[in-house]
């Protein structure tokens, strides 16, 4: 790493967040670990400080506490060097749980879509003003097409993808960059023991790929990359056939 930088890890208790923080801390970045379980984040912060002597802050952050986002963004944006963020949080109840209790839909969309947009939209002006910086928005292959098994979560991620495209359009003018990651199956608590999961990528492999794509200033990428051809096929199935399938 050449210049001083800060990475804000939104959803830092996730194993991908932990792996990502370890990677950028090893490169000398300052870290903000943002999430709800501050006690857990403090444990990760201690690990990062000892392993890499990085400056690390564990910050309480609740995606659904929209009123707190402006202050949080302003505070984090004062961190040293170029300020970057990676957005990792989301909430994925099983579709049948949502069908049984539609109130879950509010939480799913509230965290995965509204919460994500809210914090990014408060961070955006700060990054814009500095005329440099990077946002990695981690979406999902589930956002590429609505499927019977996962369409509420999928629609929230699809919305996030569209938002990220717009934000990329906006921040590019200021010299900042936005990367949209469409994540396949990663080996996290979200997929652990879930049916129909295959070829899971390790959290560290995902973190490494995210960082590599961001440094290469990719705009949109699938991680792992083999999801690109898979989703190309899934997206190209005509709707009149797709509606009969249950993939």
């Amino acid at each position: 790493m050449s210049a001083e930088e800060t990475w804000i890890v939104l959803g830092a208790s996730s194993p991908i967040g932990r792996a990502f923080a370890r990677r950028v801390a090893a490169q000398g970045a300052h870290i903000v670990l943002a999430g709800r379980d501050v006690e857990d984040l403090q444990r990760t912060a201690a690990d990062l400080r000892i392993a890499s002597a990085a400056s690390v802050e564990a910050a309480a952050f609740d995606a659904m506490d929209f009123a707190s986002h402006a202050d949080a963004a302003a505070r984090w944006a004062e961190r040293p060097g170029r300020v970057n963020a990676i957005l990792l949080f989301g909430m994925m109840p099983e579709q049948r749980e949502i069908d049984a209790d539609p109130r879950l839909l509010i939480d799913c969309v509230g965290v995965t879509y509204t919460g994500a947009l809210s914090i990014l939209h408060h961070l955006a002006p700060h990054i814009e003003a500095r005329k440099t910086g990077m946002i990695i928005g981690v979406g999902s292959v589930a956002g590429d097409r609505g499927r019977i098994k996962n369409y509420v979560y999928g629609s929230a991620k699809a919305g996030l993808h569209t938002y990220l495209a717009g934000l990329r359009n906006r921040l590019a003018r200021a010299g900042a960059h936005v990367l949209t990651v469409k994540l396949g199956f990663a080996d996290t608590a979200m997929t652990w023991g879930a049916p129909g999961v295959f070829l899971v990528a390790s959290p560290d492999a995902v973190a490494r790929a995210c960082l590599k794509a961001a440094r290469a200033r990719r705009n949109v990428c699938y991680i792992p990359s083999f999801w690109f051809p898979i989703m190309l096929i899934i997206r190209s199935i005509p709707e009149w056939i797709f509606k009969r399938l249950s993939i």
């Binding site: 208790s13 444990r43 000892i50």
Partner: protein, 467 residues
Amino acid sequence: MTAADNNPKRAGVIPDLKGQQPMRWKNFELKPWGRVCRAPTTAARPERLSEIAPIVRENHSNGLSVYAAGRSYGDSALNSNGQNCLSERLDRILAFDERTGVVDVEPGVNFRKLMNVFLPKGWLVPVSPGTSFATIGGAVAHDVHGKNHEREGSFGQHVSELDLVTANGVSHRIGPQSRADWFRATCGGCGLTGVITRVEFKMRRVPSAFVEAKEQRLENLDGFFAAFEAAKGASYSIGWIDALARGAALGRGILETAEPAAEAGFVWRKKHAASVPVDFPAMALNALSVKAFNSFYIGRVPKSGRQRLRAYEDFFYPLDAIEQWNRIYGRRGFHQFQCVVPYREGEKAIRRLLETITASQSASPLTVLKRLGPGRAGYLSFPMEGYTLALDFPNRAATEALYRALAGVTLEHGGRIYLAKDALLSAEAMPPMYPELGEFQRVLEEIDPDARFQSDMSRRLHLRARA
């Protein structure tokens, strides 16, 4: 020290679930390093401390067992048709005091991470097993020893404190001074007292990342015992024996001793690990190929011996240079036999064991002979003052009988078998080999009266009073 140290929540009370989905369980098959045992299980994989208590409190039809890196050879971590708690994701270093070297870690932290983080700063683990992939939780649960056991004792003897979530889901802080009996049951207790969630121990300062290693060739067992006697004051010592050599050459091999090297610096070249990509065919390891390997291995060291600078990493973990080396034994896997026999019987017993082994001509390359000191931290700890012999046998029809014969010789000479390696011992051998088994069972009865923590090993060896 971290802010977390001042948090009163850390001991006694487990905080509520925050920002996470309910724990899911996954059905699959767990295998230990020896790959003979296979256990269909339902496993949870917590990523945070707060998930442990709910996992422990679940209703377990056939008990719960903690599984860490899967580097034990036998069935100590397995729980067939029951449940497992995987500790691999609890992998953070929680605190480090640069003045004293006291470090505080989660149970899934492995020796590799500790080497990578602390050795460049001049700190080394006090005791290390033969693989860096073993975790600290596992090191406590088997009270592991290293090449410096004579001088430094077992791993558990360096632990000042640990947190244990017991069967009722409550976390307890225990150590050699507080709840000493619980601590003694936990060190070497094969995970049966509960889930270890934090371990505090002391690292030691070293002058460099290297040792000055001396190797000498020994022509037979008598030579070996004499050389061990002469090397008594060495910081580290380890012997490799050609377990196929018979007659006058019985017990020929190499003794390697080492001292911390001064002023060699803290930068070492990390070797890129090779990997065994597929299971070897069963016949790959036969008497001929092993004989050739052993001759080559011993022949590397000149007759006059040699001295060289070695990185701790290479010296401690020679087999880590080959990922998944367990695959060379093929799909059927292998058994590792490791025993210790007391000094007074040592020479006679080792000779008998080696004669039995060479007669079978089925031993693996790299048989290890070492001296152990008296240091042990728990009721079921392996070490005793004496000689320890360790070797692998491919899993074949005759292996079980050979293993039992060797265990019989061990028992006759007042020795014991290492539980971290074992999958074949029978329950009757436990009380004579482990005289403190009764104490262990009494404490277990107190900590976990409903036998919530169980394993294939605990059932096979009747480690609980009520099996």
